[in-house]
């Protein structure tokens, strides 16, 4: 997969200046500070003006960014990060250990309302200023995922002075060390980012030094995919995200457009089967559902070859991902046998199986904000194919709030929920039995409601060991448990396709969470 665009026929020397227009199909963030909440739309835009302590290269290695050096203590409970010298936030505040400490405190402060960042720092007990340039993280338990977590935009380092402002002000104008500065946020329209002229801190794998080439980025929100693509074709915008499969194929045939495919890390896109209640508390029924769902042909047609079938709980960009295609073959005969065995032996007038008079119903809430149309169509196809063996799948499209509410009320049997996090530790968030208990707000991550003590232990252990071989063995065991228990039906990687005009040169997606970074980008006009 090409992770960066080269630009056809580009001249060698980058052009300085120019305005690039980016059109995002993701929801407009409610806060530009990714500490608050912490979702992918925030990460997308924050990548342009905030930076992390470390980053990841395309080989999967952790590389320096704001921290030039880091050391882990023997027991794995203490980490020292040495900060880059001479870096200033765009409000003039210097980057030092105190600033990092303030950021960790900010993320861990309940008043901030951090969700993703808060979870990632779950094992950080305290921070300590060793010297102005060295900060020490003290952990409650060893955390093999710490470095990977720290590559994520949700743990970006912001100006401590700026964090002291009110939440609303900080949400509108977060201050970081990045190559661009948030200049103006016109709600429901666009965010204007301007070049940070004093920029000095590119990640280790950047292509150049000094300030960014672009003088301005207009970050627009265009929710309608057809409009977004039309605007790109017409040259009104230069880059779009969330490109629909058919337009990606069309773009391949269009000279002026290029694709940047950057699958998101963390979990794959999968359907989780709620094992916490009937009918999916019975493993036979789960397997029957999975065996009855014919998805390969659908993916081929619906995604026009832009998505590859996944047989893993993890994204294909995760080196520790484990695939088991044999478990997910389309075998309706076997599904029928399994259902017979599970006691769903009769069929009602509509052809659905019943047991003790109750229909084999699968309630499937679909978030229209999170599932792209092709995916919703795939669900419809699953609905159609599983119907043949007698499942009554009730697809219920709804807005995000209602969707969360339905999950919180345990009002679902199947659901598809994306989760992006760098590293296999995402499995612990998604399948640890502790994640079944909802937070007071109703939120919980273990939607399959997997409750296996041995799995909990394996994941916990994997998160602590730093030995590479042992770690990968543990994660393989864990994934096997999940896949063989038929808790999930993996579909494909979390799609993350960008389309750009040919004159946009040097755009790459950061290997951490696949957000595009416009630092090296210039316009060949």
């Amino acid at each position: 997969t090409p992770q960066s665009s080269t630009g056809a026929g580009s001249s060698d020397s980058p052009v300085r200046g120019g305005t690039l227009t980016y059109a995002s199909g993701d929801a407009e963030p409610t806060c530009l500070d990714p500490h608050v909440g912490g979702n992918y739309p925030q990460a997308l835009v924050a990548t342009q003006y905030l930076e992390e302590l470390v980053s990841k290269n395309t080989k999967g290695q952790i590389i320096p960014w704001l921290a030039t050096k880091w050391t882990e203590s023997k027991d794995g409970l203490s980490w020292d990060f040495t900060l880059r010298d001479g870096v200033k936030f765009t409000d003039g505040t210097p980057l030092d250990a105190a600033a990092v400490k303030a950021n960790v405190a900010h993320i861990q402060d309940p008043a901030t309302g951090s969700s993703t960042g808060y979870l990632a720092l779950g094992k950080v007990a305290s921070t300590e200023i060793v010297s102005p340039r060295v900060i020490r993280f003290t952990l409650s338990q060893p955390d093999s995922a710490l470095l990977e977590s720290l590559t994520q935009p949700w743990l970006a380092i912001e100006s401590p002075a700026a964090l002291k402002r009110s939440k609303d002000v900080n949400c509108a104008h977060p201050v970081g060390t990045g190559p661009f500065i948030v200049k103006q946020w016109k709600k429901q329209d666009s965010i204007t980012l301007v070049r940070n002229a004093g920029y000095t801190s590119p990640p280790a794998d950047a292509a150049h030094h000094g300030p960014a080439y672009l003088s301005k980025i207009v970050w627009r929100f265009i929710p309608d995919s057809a409009t977004r693509y039309a605007a790109l074709k017409a040259g009104e915008v230069d880059v779009i995200d969330n490109a629909q499969p058919d337009t990606i194929v069309a773009a391949h045939k269009t000279k002026s457009l290029t694709e940047l495919n950057a699958p998101r890390p963390g979990a794959s896109n999968r359907i989780e089967l709620n094992s916490g209640k009937a009918p999916f508390n019975d493993e036979k029924v789960r397997e029957a559902f999975i065996r009855a769902a014919d998805v390969n042909d659908g993916i081929k047609t619906l995604f026009f070859g832009t998505a590859k079938r996944s047989y893993s709980a993890l994204s294909s960009v995760e080196p520790l991902g484990y695939s088991e295609p044999g478990l997910f073959g389309y075998e309706p005969k076997k599904a029928n046998e399994l259902l017979d065995a599970a006691g769903y032996t009769t069929r009602d007038a509509d052809g659905y199986r019943t047991k003790d008079g109750t229909r084999l119903t699968v309630v499937f809430p679909v978030s229209t904000n999170q599932s792209i149309p092709a995916e919703q169509s795939l669900f419809e196809q699953i609905q159609a194919t599983t119907k043949k063996v007698g499942f009554d799948v009730k697809l219920e499209p709804m807005d995000l709030s209602s969707w969360y509410a339905a999950l919180a009320k345990n009002d679902y049997d199947a659901v598809s929920a994306p989760y992006t996090k760098v590293g296999p530790d995402v499995l612990r968030i998604l399948y640890d039995s502790a994640s079944i208990t909802p937070a007071p707000s109703g939120y919980f991550a273990n939607l399959a409601q997997v409750d296996i003590p041995s799995l909990d232990a394996t994941l916990e252990k994997a998160a602590q060991v730093s030995d590479v071989a042992e770690r990968s063995a543990l994660y393989e065991t864990a994934q096997k448990t999940i896949l063989e228990g038929y808790y999930i039906l993996p579909l494909y990687d979390q799609q993350n396709h960008y389309l750009l005009r040919n004159d946009v040169v040097g755009l790459r997606a950061l290997p951490s969470v696949s957000t595009p970074l416009f630092y090296d980008t210039w316009l060949d006009r």
């Binding site: 057809a226 039309a230 081929k300 619906l302 669900f379 159609a384 219920e396 209602s402």
Partner: protein
């Protein structure tokens, strides 16, 4: 009142009547018009352009668009009819209260209607759907609710007009009691207008409901409902125009045909 060439040439009327008949046939016996299964998927035959085998092409799941359009007539028209019915029933209830009740009731009801009018219809529908969750039933009720104030206004004014009409006064002179007048004269005369409103309203309700579907608030999959088909097909507008074109065409055609018929009937009613 002079209406020159009235509703245009008769040809248009005949065409509209044919469209309506065809739609009714689709709604009542879709299996006869298009024998296929509207839900049968053929994943590998998706996105096929219109051909002899698939008149309107196939959709993303390889379902035959023509079959779906035909089978979609039932739910779509039902939404239109049911929403209009809800709107009309509410409208008649409110309008009758206001038009025939005592003055204070008229005053109160009229003010209420004024307030409802100040709410954009879509907002009423949105609130209702958010409260009760999306789906065919809720979006139908929502459209009905949103249209009710309009109907109520018309019913009220019709009631007032008929109540004050000279022929009602003539019935008083002949010694007919109030209930008799309401049953024999007022209601039947208002009903004529209502009938016209229904024809006009059905078409517009379909358009309304389809807009709700576009916002993701309409029918649930895999129901073959026009608005839902349209909004699903819109995504592929760049590569598969037929997914958008044909459902859009039937929506416009049915709404327009209903309007023409309604106007014709209205012309008859007024002309007499």
């Amino acid at each position: 009142m002079r209406r020159a060439a009235s509703a245009g040439p008769r040809v248009a009327l005949v065409v509209c009547a044919l469209v309506v008949l065809w739609l009714l046939a689709c709604a009542v016996a879709p299996g006869l018009v298009a024998p296929g299964d509207p839900l049968a998927i053929h994943p590998l035959q998706g996105f096929e352009p219109p051909s002899l085998a698939h008149w309107f092409g196939t959709d993303e799941s390889g379902r035959d668009v023509f079959t779906r359009v035909v089978h979609g007539a039932g739910p779509s028209l039902l939404i239109g009819v049911a929403a209009t019915a809800i709107g009309i029933v509410l409208g008649v209830a409110l309008g009758t209260l206001a038009g025939l009740g005592p003055r204070w009731l008229d005053f109160g009801t009229s003010r209420l209607l004024e307030v409802l009018f100040a709410f954009p219809g879509l907002l009423l529908a949105l609130l209702f759907i958010v409260i009760y969750g999306p789906g065919i039933t809720t979006s139908t009720v929502a459209v009905g609710l949103a249209t009710a104030p309009g109907y109520a206004r018309i019913v009220r004014s019709q009631m007032l007009a008929v109540r004050g009409a000279p022929y009602i006064e003539a019935e008083v002179v002949l010694g007919r009691p109030p209930l008799w007048r309401f049953r024999r004269s007022i209601l039947p005369n208002v009903a004529g207008t209502l009938f016209v409103l229904v024809t006009l309203g059905v078409g517009q309700s379909i358009v309304w409901a389809s807009s709700l579907s576009y916002l993701g608030l309409g029918a649930k999959p895999p129901t073959a409902e026009w608005g839902a088909m349209l909004s699903a097909g819109r995504t592929y507008i760049d590569s598969a125009w037929w997914l958008t074109f044909f459902p859009g065409l039937v929506i416009v055609a049915s709404a327009a045909a209903a309007t023409v018929l309604g106007r014709t009937i209205q012309g008859r009613v007024r002309g007499s």
